[in-house]
């Protein structure tokens, strides 16, 4: 990572963010393909994968239970904002608090277990994932068990109302003609800053800005002293010790940072669905998907991980449903037996995609390995 005067994003990251920003425009052209919904899921999984990347990619700790922290974040967000409970903190405060609670949970799991090596730590994180999932299911009084906590608030643009009224006084925002052109993208209501399920594009852009902020923080950590400590611990823990670096402290910070990001992803996921869903939505499969995103995208590279999220979530939530729907409309496939209905091929396509990607791009789409393979 060549040292350069401080700059916001690398060129790769700008391209990826531009690519993401362009997708709602596709909505304009083809209204029936609702892209801004799944794109919000892509952003959520991108943030989750960036958190996992800090732990697996930068510090070399295999974490198979990142979904547990996503669940903690989602349920903390739910408990803090749902009207069923007295807290009802606003969206932004709840987002910050669930991040902090996630970090605390990360520290709590990390403190006693970080002396473990490789796959022993992997199984502990996997076990933690199962414990959290079952715990949430059983603690009915707090988490409403499998009914999930709903409704949860939509994101509100900070100071949105203030800016909106300011614009109106100046007479910009209220001119309906001006907004007509951007009707499709910026959607119906004249208040530019009001986000609701009727204005999915605006909601997605807010999530995109949050993703940009997360990437900004990740970049700073990557180039900071702490980032180098993580890399040193990943490369050779004992040598790092001899450089007066305490690996346990560095690992704990990595765990807490990764957990905080996962919790924030969980909170955004819950807000996107307006419900925490049930604990089973954050099971081991989600941890596997996050790991696949990091590895397919390119372990250690921020741009790669975001690209990985686009590919993997795009594949399973956009391309596969679109394909099966297209086949259905074209009359291919029926429901008599298992071989004929297109839905039964989703596992196969998903698995083949993974195997082929690993076969032909073992280091991921964007790889950062500089050492020439000996």
């Amino acid at each position: 990572m060549a040292e350069r005067r401080f700059s916001f994003f690398t060129r790769g990251q700008c391209i990826v963010l531009a690519l993401l920003a362009a997708t709602p425009l596709l909505d304009l052209a083809f209204p029936s393909i609702q892209l801004s919904g799944p794109m919000r899921t892509v952003v959520v999984y991108a943030i989750l994968a960036l958190g996992l990347n800090v732990v697996v990619g930068w510090t070399g700790l295999l974490n198979l239970g990142i979904a547990a922290f996503m669940a903690i974040g989602a349920y903390a967000f739910g408990i803090l904002t749902a009207e069923v409970y007295p807290f009802q903190v606003g969206f932004w405060w709840a987002l910050l608090l669930s991040g902090a609670i996630g970090a605390f949970a990360g520290w709590l799991l990390g403190a006693p277990t970080l002396r473990l090596r490789g796959d022993y730590l992997a199984i502990v994180t996997l076990g933690f994932g199962e414990i959290v999932q079952d715990g949430l299911k059983n603690l009915q009084a707090i988490t409403k068990g499998t009914e999930g906590i709903n409704p949860l608030p939509k994101p509100t643009v900070p100071f949105g109302a203030a800016i909106q009224s300011g614009l109106e006084i100046v007479g910009i925002a209220s001119a309906p003609a001006a907004t007509k052109a951007a009707e499709g993208v910026v959607a119906a209501s004249s208040n530019w800053f009001e986000i609701s399920s009727a204005t999915p594009a605006r909601w997605f852009y807010l999530y995109l800005i949050l993703l940009a902020v997360v990437i900004f923080f990740c970049r700073n950590l990557e180039f900071s002293r702490l980032g180098r400590q993580w890399f040193a611990v990943r490369e050779d823990e004992l040598a790092a010790r001899c450089m007066a670096i305490e690996p346990d402290k560095a690992k704990l910070k990595a765990f807490a940072a990764g957990a905080a990001l996962a919790a924030i992803a969980g909170a955004l996921f819950a807000s996107h669905l307006a419900s925490t869903g049930e604990p089973a939505n954050y099971d081991f499969q989600v941890s596997i998907l996050a790991l696949c995103i990091v590895i397919v995208g390119g372990i250690g590279s921020i741009t790669g991980v975001v690209l990985g999220a686009i590919v993997m979530v795009g594949l399973s939530n956009v391309v596969l449903p679109a394909l099966t729907q297209a086949m259905q409309r074209a009359g291919i496939g029926s429901t008599e037996n298992v071989l004929s209905s297109p839905d039964n091929y989703k596992y196969l396509i998903f698995g083949l995609a993974l195997v082929l990607m690993m076969r032909f791009r073992p280091d991921g789409i964007v790889h950062t390995r500089k050492a020439v393979k000996k």
């Binding site: 299911k137 068990g145 009727a198 049930e278």
Partner: protein
């Protein structure tokens, strides 16, 4: 390294774009004067058998009106709300389906969902958009009736204040009561209540427990089992120690009801087993094995067994067997009934010369009164539930469902 990212991103877009645009092109060519009914059910994973029979039921209903009402053609799309990596319904995909339905102006009715958890996600969205939603399978009482679920249910699912969610299946609290009454009737005393810790299972188990307390059945224990466990022999031993003569399991075939039935037999527990309509399908008999269920298992089902349907129901049964060459599953008739109710509402709009669109269909479906359907005559009450209270208690005799009692 940077230019390579641009190239990879470009190839990705090239790869994804045709698939996405392909479907868009297909969608765009829909006929000018046509309306669309969509269904959002888990098609991937273990619930596939039941949802396939529902989709067949819906297609049959549309075929019966020749796919047209007046000059508007009725299009139908079967959307999947499950995802491969979850192997079950996926909240993100369900939210996506709801958003897609709202965005696609030709959609006028949304048949779904199968899991009550999924309904909680799409109901508020479709309510604000004013699209009618008819569920063939959601039985959680809190979705429509106040006081049974959370403090803020069902108001929380009706942000626009209007009722847009209807269902053709009776709710858990009715089913739980029927099961408890029947248990007392056949002289069972001590009951061990299990649930699969899913929304549906817990709901109906809770209703059973409430009713059992009312009518004096002794509850010797309750527990929530893990739907993915390999077997429940240890649990059966605990139930044996508790001396229960009845085990009530709130769960479905997909959450291992078959395995539990088998382990009760192999564990030497001489108790009867009662399960709700989530198990009322051939797959349950296959999973448990006819021997394990032979006259020791009772299954409550909202409505009557398709074979015994009279009038329109019998017609449905014959048609289904003719077109799909297999016995219709218990839920097939619910899918059929949803579609019939919507099509009948459209018929009424067409006769009154009105235009078939979201608002008129929503209003008309709400007015469904004394509808002559496959499930008998029923209508939607003020909460959107069915007035049809008929429940059948069935048992399994040498591999076949046979109705023991019908409760009105």
């Amino acid at each position: 390294m940077k230019h390579r990212i641009a190239r990879t991103a470009a190839t990705l877009l090239a790869l994804a774009a045709p698939a996405v645009l392909g479907t868009a092109a297909l969608a765009a060519d829909a006929l000018a004067n046509s309306v669309k009914i969509v269904s959002s059910l888990p098609r991937t994973g273990s619930a596939n058998a039941q949802t396939t029979s529902m989709v067949n039921g819906i297609k049959m209903a549309i075929a019966e009106v020749g796919g047209k009402i007046g000059d508007t053609t009725i299009l139908y799309e079967d959307w999947d709300d499950a995802s491969p990596q979850r192997g079950n319904w996926d909240p993100a995909v369900e939210a996506q389906n709801a958003d897609k339905a709202i965005a696609d102006t030709s959609v006028v009715a949304y048949i779904g969902t199968y899991n009550s958890g999924a309904a909680k996600i799409s109901m508020p969205k479709l309510n604000t958009a004013g699209i009618v939603m008819v569920s063939p399978a959601n039985t959680a009482s809190g979705l429509t009736k106040a006081g049974l679920g959370e403090a803020n249910e069902p108001a929380v699912y009706r942000p626009s204040g209007k009722i847009n969610y209807f269902r053709v299946v009776p709710t858990d609290d009715v089913q739980g009561a029927v099961a408890a009454d029947y248990a007392k009737e056949i002289g069972l005393k001590k009951v061990f209540i299990l649930n699969d810790r899913e929304v549906y299972g817990k709901g109906v188990a809770g209703a059973f427990e409430a009713r059992a307390k009312e009518i004096g059945l002794e509850i010797v224990g309750t527990d929530g089992l893990d739907a993915k466990a390999s077997n429940y022999k240890s649990l059966v031993t605990k139930i044996k120690q508790a001396g229960a003569d009845l085990v009530y399991f709130g769960g479905t075939t997909q959450t291992n009801a078959g395995q539990l039935a088998k382990d009760i037999v192999s564990g030497g527990l001489k108790a009867k087993l009662i399960v709700p309509d989530g198990c009322y399908e051939n797959a349950f008999i296959e999973a448990a094995g006819a021997k394990a269920l032979q006259d020791r298992c009772f299954i409550t089902f909202g409505g009557v067994d398709p074979k015994l349907l009279k009038g329109k129901g019998a017609e449905f049964y014959e048609n289904y067997k003719k077109t799909y060459k297999t016995e219709p599953e218990g839920y097939a008739v619910y899918g059929y009934e949803c579609a019939k109710a919507i099509l009948a509402a459209m018929e009424r709009i067409h006769k009154a010369g009105g235009k078939i669109d979201r608002a008129t269909v929503l209003a008309e479906v709400g007015k469904t009164k004394d509808f002559q359907g496959a499930l008998g005559t029923w209508s939607f009450d003020e909460n959107g539930d069915t007035t049809n209270r008929t429940f059948s208690v069935n048992t399994v005799k040498n591999g076949e469902f046979s109705t023991v009692k019908v409760v009105q």
